[in-house]
Amino acid sequence: MSEHRHHIMPVKGYLAVWAGLVVLTAVTVWVSYFNFGMLNVAVAIIVATIKAALVCLYFMHLKYDTLFNRVILLSTIVFVALFMGFTFIDINSRVKVEPSQFSDNSPLPLPAKFRGEEGKKEAGAVKN
């Protein structure tokens, strides 16, 4: 019975996956020297996801595992996507009520210590 249950991958297969991961690590480092503008994050995440897929399918045996375990992983990815997707829909559709007085475009005021000189003065003024 167990001969059918357990798929034993050849050592060569594991070494090939390892080599793939090393090459893809080199690729991520290499592409980080180019500036794709808005696409920087996307490129980094795509390469990381290819690496993650290799680890999941072969090292974690998902390719030969039961459907149930694959569904668990896929639903995890769906929930992470919902979590991140909806947060960004919220963040990016907020109307800035008043222009930020800080050097960056955060709608949230930073604690006084991190505000730079102007912020500190202002925090002091409030105290007095």
Binding site: T28, V41, A48, F68, I72, L73, N105, L108
Partner: protein
Amino acid sequence: MSELAHKGHPEYLQHHFAEAAQQEDASKIGMWLFLATEVLLFSGLFLAFAVMRQYHYEAFREGHHHLNKTLGVVNTLVLICSSLTMALGVRAAQTSRKQQLINYLVATLLFAATFLVIKYFEYSHKIHEGLLPGRYFTGEMHEPAVPLFFGLYFLMTGLHGLHVVAGMIAIGWVLWRGIKGHFHSEYYTPVENVGLYWHLVDLIWIYLFPLLYLLP
């Protein structure tokens, strides 16, 4: 005692399971569900990073230049190698090779320790420069929000580091059981589950590394 307690079925099969296959499936489903919660735990931190990076883009760029790319690459390769030895360790258990299992588990532990030693050097360098989270930050920066970057850096790599330590404890446990000869081709679920956990530690680093160290 075990003769009586395990009458009619192998010692590794617990009484409430009909057969070994059922026990293994149940155990692995449990492990995958646990891994799902781990992914969701880290996704909160990744989301915080993504949102804060959008709000404080310049500050995150400045903070990221204080990370050591080379050490990040070396640690990535160390973890990939540890994942390979872990996977080969599971294979050794699948094929009932006891000595091979022990060797691969020890190799995995050594890679894990290497990772932590490199991380220790990175951390002590950051602490030396005063790049600590929140109000402990004493570094001199152009952008006021840089401490946010280091807060997330320490939180994310620190939580990941704790997972490395937990993984090492788990690997130590299966190593001990492996030495006692508990595992063979019919029963190696603990090795496999610890392997799954270890690969998850690698998976999280696969995303942490480019986002923290590499993004231009």
